[in-house]
Symmetry: C2
Subunit: 537 residues, 2 copies
C-alpha cells in the first residue's frame, strides 16, 4: 500500500448555470442551427445569464468563528451552488428564476469539520445540502421551500484525495469529494482504474455517485457504483461510522446498501474504499444495425442472457442513431464493446455479433480484437461516443432557443419493455403536443441491459411556451412519471430521486421500507437538516 500526494485539478472554467466547461458551450450560431431543427423555437438564443441579475440576498446566518474560514457568502459561489444541472435548472438560470440560493457555501477539508458544520447547522435550523460536482439532474442539490432559517451548501470537493491504494487487493481509499478525473489521475500510476464513467464523469464526485447509486461504465453486470463499494464512511448528525473493508459479508442487512442512494438525507459520505480494475489491455467494438427496433430488443436480450458480458451494449433507436451520427438511414444501432485486462476479447465480440445477426442485425464493423491503446473502433461506435459526451451541452443550447428538453431513464423487465417504449413515444408525444402546441422529438436508447430486463433512456425535445418553460417541463415530467408508474418501470435507474422524482418514488417505494426509512431519518437526523425534501418530506 502507498499514499499518493498529488491532486490534479482542471484549469478550465466551469459554467455556473449550464453543463460543464464554458469553453465547450455551443455558440449562438450553433444554438440557432439546432433550434431550426425543432419547430416553434425562438428566432435567436436567450442570452447567457449573468449572476448580477439574480436575486441574491444577504446570508441570514453567520457561522461561528471556528467554522468561518470554511464558509463563503460570495454571490458567485452561492449562485453556482443554487441548483444542479437538470434542464429545469438551466432554464431557471436563463430566465433568472433560480431555486433558493444558499446563504453560505462551506468547503470542509476533514471529517471533523463536516461533523462540526452539521452540529452548528442542527443548532441553528440551517438546512444542509451536500454537494459534490453539482451535476444532479433531479433537483438533488437545491433547497425548496422556506421551512429552514437558512441554507448551507456543503461542498465536499476539497476532500478529493486518494488516501491509500492496495495494489494487490485492487482497491483504494478515496475521499468522497474527488471528481472523476481527479481520482482516476491519482489511480493511474498504479495501473488501476475505478472505471466508473457516467456522462457526468468530469463534473461529478465519488460521493455523489455513491449517494445517488450512479450508473457507470459497464452496460452489463456491475452496472451501478454500488457493486464496487468495499467500505463507506458516513457522518450523520447522530454520529459517524465506517463499515469494515470486506470483499463480501452476510452479517445482517448490508449497512453500505442502506446509505448508498440515501442522497444526503441520512448522512454525508466522506470516504470510501472502492474496488478497482486493472486497466484493460484488450478491447473490441462493433456496431450492428437493425431495421426493426423490436427485433433489436430481442437481440439485446439474447446477448444479455448469454455469459458474454459486454462492457458496452447500447441500443440506439433510429432517432438516437441519427442524432449521434451512428446511422443516417433510419436504422436502430446496437453499439457493442468488450474489454479485458486478462485476454483477447475478439471471440466474445464475434459471438455477440452472431447473436445480433441471428435476430436480423447487420454488422457494420467487422469485429476485430485490438490493442486497448488504439481507439479505432467502427465509425458508428466513435460517433456515438463523441455525441454522448456532447449531449448535455447541446441540451443547453436548445434551452437557449426556448426548447423544453427532458431526459429521463428507467428500467423494466423484458416483458414490459416494448409496451413501455411504445407508450412513451405515443402518449408522451401526444401530451407534449397538447401542452405546447408543437410536435416533440422523442428518442430512446438502452443504456444498461440485464438478463431480466433493460434500462431505457428517453430524450424529449419540444418547443416551449416562452417564459413558461418550467411549467411546460413540469407538465411533461408528470406525464412521463405517470407512464412509468403505470408500466411498473422504476422512476429512475441511475439518475436518482432528488426532488423531481418524489411523486413517482413515493408511489413505488414499498410501505414497510418507507416506514423504516422515515424512522431512520428521525434517528440519524433529528433536527431534519439534511437535504430536506429528497426521498422524504
Amino acid at each position: 500500500m502507498s499514499a499518493i500526494p498529488a491532486v490534479p485539478r482542471s484549469a478550465r472554467t466551469r459554467s455556473w448555470w449550464g453543463w460543464g466547461y464554458t469553453d465547450a458551450h455551443p455558440d449562438d450560431v450553433e444554438c440557432a442551427a439546432m433550434g431550426a431543427l425543432l419547430p416553434g423555437t425562438l428566432a435567436r438564443p436567450l442570452p447567457i445569464p449573468r449572476i448580477a441579475d439574480l436575486p441574491i440576498a444577504r446570508p441570514t446566518v453567520t457561522p461561528p468563528p471556528s467554522l468561518a474560514h470554511l464558509a463563503t457568502a460570495d454571490p458567485r459561489v452561492r449562485a453556482a451552488h443554487a441548483m444542479g444541472k437538470a434542464y429545469r435548472d438551466v432554464i431557471r438560470a436563463l430566465r433568472a428564476r433560480p431555486g433558493r440560493i444558499p446563504d453560505l457555501v462551506a468547503h470542509p477539508t476533514v471529517d471533523r469539520e463536516v461533523a462540526d458544520l452539521l452540529a452548528w447547522a442542527g443548532e441553528h435550523d440551517v438546512a444542509v445540502v451536500p454537494y459534490g460536482g453539482g451535476s444532479s439532474v433531479v433537483g438533488g442539490v437545491e433547497y425548496r421551500g422556506d421551512a429552514h432559517r437558512a441554507v448551507l451548501s456543503l461542498d465536499l470537493t476539497s476532500m478529493d484525495r486518494v488516501l491509500e491504494v492496495d495494489t494487490a487487493g485492487r482497491s483504494a481509499h478515496i475521499q468522497a469529494g474527488a471528481l472523476g478525473p481527479v481520482l482516476e489521475e491519482q489511480l493511474r500510476p498504479h495501473g488501476l482504474t475505478l472505471r466508473h464513467f457516467p456522462q457526468s464523469f468530469e463534473f461529478s464526485t465519488l460521493g455523489g455517485w455513491l449517494a445517488t447509486r450512479a450508473g457507470g461504465h459497464y452496460a452489463t453486470g456491475r452496472t451501478h457504483i454500488d457493486d464496487f463499494v468495499q467500505s463507506l464512511r458516513v457522518i450523520t448528525p447522530a454520529g459517524a461510522g465506517t463499515s469494515w473493508r470486506l470483499p463480501a459479508s452476510g452479517a445482517g442487512p448490508s449497512p453500505d446498501r442502506f446509505f448508498l442512494g440515501s442522497e444526503g438525507a441520512l448522512g454525508v459520505i466522506t470516504e470510501a474504499w472502492m474496488r478497482l480494475q486493472e486497466r484493460p489491455r484488450h478491447k473490441a467494438a462493433a456496431s450492428v444495425a437493425f431495421t426493426d427496433f423490436h427485433r433489436a430488443l430481442d437481440a439485446v436480450r439474447a446477448i444479455a442472457q448469454s455469459d458474454l458480458a459486454p462492457a458496452n451494449c447500447r441500443l440506439l433507436d433510429a432517432g438516437e442513431a441519427l442524432f449521434s451520427g451512428a446511422s443516417r438511414d433510419g436504422s436502430s444501432v446496437l453499439v457493442l464493446g468488450f474489454e479485458s485486462a486478462t485476454g483477447p476479447v475478439g471471440d466474445r465480440l464475434a459471438s455477440a455479433v452472431d447473436l445480433a445477426r441471428a435476430h436480423s442485425g447487420r454488422a457494420e464493423t467487422p469485429p476485430a480484437d485490438r490493442d486497448a491503446s488504439a481507439d479505432s473502433a467502427g465509425s458508428a461506435v466513435s460517433a456515438w461516443r463523441s455525441a454522448f459526451l456532447r449531449m448535455p451541452y447541446l441540451r443547453d443550447g436548445l434551452a437557449r432557443m426556448g426548447a423544453v428538453v427532458e431526459t429521463f431513464e428507467t428500467a423494466a423487465t423484458w416483458d414490459k419493455l416494448p409496451a413501455l417504449i411504445d407508450a412513451v413515444r405515443t402518449e408522451l408525444g401526444a401530451a407534449a403536443l397538447k401542452i405546447t402546441g408543437h410536435p416533440a422529438t422523442i428518442n430512446c436508447r438502452l443504456t444498461h441491459v440485464y438478463p431480466d430486463g433493460a434500462a431505457p433512456y428517453f430524450t424529449v425535445a419540444v418547443a416551449g411556451r416562452p417564459g413558461d418553460e418550467v411549467e411546460v417541463w413540469d407538465d411533461i415530467k408528470a406525464v412521463a412519471g405517470e407512464i412509468l408508474h403505470r408500466h411498473r418501470a422504476t422512476i429512475t435507474h441511475h439518475h436518482a430521486v432528488g426532488r423531481d422524482h418524489r411523486a413517482g418514488y413515493d408511489l413505488q417505494r414499498p410501505e414497510p421500507f418507507a416506514l423504516a426509512l422515515r424512522a431512520a431519518k428521525d434517528a440519524l437526523d433529528p433536527h431534519r437538516i439534511l437535504n430536506p425534501g429528497v426521498l422524504l418530506d
Copy 2:
C-alpha cells in the same frame, strides 16, 4: 408466463434433533470409528435422543378459533422446531437440554394468515420465530430468555409453490417456504434453475436464504442470494409491501437489500420474484494440488482477479483435502469448475489451470470440456463434492462421540487473509487445547473468492468435557469471534448472525446503521415480537 400446479415433497424422514434425513445418519459403528480419530472422545456414542425425554410443557397460549386450524401443540412438531442445526443445537438435543420449546407451531398457507398470526401475537405478547427449513447454524430459529408470554414458531413450508414463471425474462415468482429441491423441481420443466445450492440445499427454504443472505452455488461473482432477487414481499406487524419486479433500480436505498439479511427481525418474507439461469449445457472441472498453502492463496487471487469467472473455485487446505479424500499427501487442493449455458468452457478452465500452475500448482486432472449431463470430473473434484454434502452428518456423529465441533466462516480482504488463517490455526488451536485439555483439529477451505478478498471456512473439532460440551463450544466460539474481530474479518460471510454471532456483529456494525436498524425495528415491529434477540436486543 405460466403457472405450475405440482409441488413434490420428499418421502424421507427428517431428523428432529440432527442434520438432514434420519436414514443418512452415521450408525454407531461409524460414529465410533470417527471418534477414534479424535483423542479424548467417548468410548461409545451418546444414544439418539428421544422427544419423550424432553421437558415439553403445555402451551401457555391458545390461538383464537379463526387461527386454531393453522397451529399445532403436538410435542413432536414443537420439539423439531425448538432449535436449528448448529452443533450447539445438536448437542443440546443429545444432552436433553434443548432451547426453549415453542408453545405452538403454525403453518400459514397464505399471506393473510401470516398477517393475522402476527396481529394476534402482537396483542398477546407472543414471540414469533419465522421458520423455513430449520437449518440455521447460528441460533437463528430458537427463542432464548423469557421476556415473552409465549413463543410461536412460524413455519412457512406450507407456502412452497412456484406461482409463475417468466421464461423469456428468466425469472419466477416463488413462495418463501419452498425448500431447495421443491422449487428446483417446479422450475425444471421450464429448463430453468435458481442454481442456489448451499450445503443445506435440501433442508432450507427460499425465505430462509433471503432472510439470512445465504451463500450459494457460485464461488465467484454473484455469490449470495441477494444478487438474484428481483422483488420481495414482506409482511410486518406494521403492514405488508411488495417491491416492484425490476432488473435494477437507482431509486433511493434498495428496499430489498434492507430486508435481505433481516433474519425475521423486521418482517416475514413470504414471496419473491427470483432471477433464474438456463440449465448449464457445458461444464468442465479440474483440481490443482499445491505443496504450499500460501502459494495456493496467490493462485486463487490471480484467478479471482481474472475475468475467467469460475463457478467453483474452492481451495482446501491439507486437512480439508485429506478429510474429503481430495488428497492424501498433505497437499492443499484447489477445486475448479466452470459451467455455461452459452458455449464451451474448456478454454476458461485451461486458462485458470495455467494461472494456478504459474503459482506452483500441479494440475491433477487434464482439463476437458464435457457435456453437462456427464459427471465424470476428476477424482478429487468428485471426492470433494460427496464429502461436502456428508459433512454435517459426520459432525453429528462426532457430537454423539462427545466431540465439540464448530464450523465458522468469514471473509476478509487479501492483505489480511494469511495472518487471519494462521491466527485461527495457532491461537484457536491453543485455546481449544487449554479449554478441553485435548488437541484440536482445525481445517480451512476457501468457499467463495473475490477480486479483493476471499471467504475462509474453518472446521474445529476437539474432544469436549462430557456434559459440558455447550460451555466448551461457547468458549471456543468466543475465542474465534475475538480473532475475527481483531483481524477485521466479518463475523459471517453467509451463515448469518442469529443469536450466536451477536457479540461480533454488534462490534462490527457501524453505529449510524445500528441507529437506523433499531429505529426501523421500532417502527415495523412495535410490540417487539419478531424473532427477538437476532440482530438486535
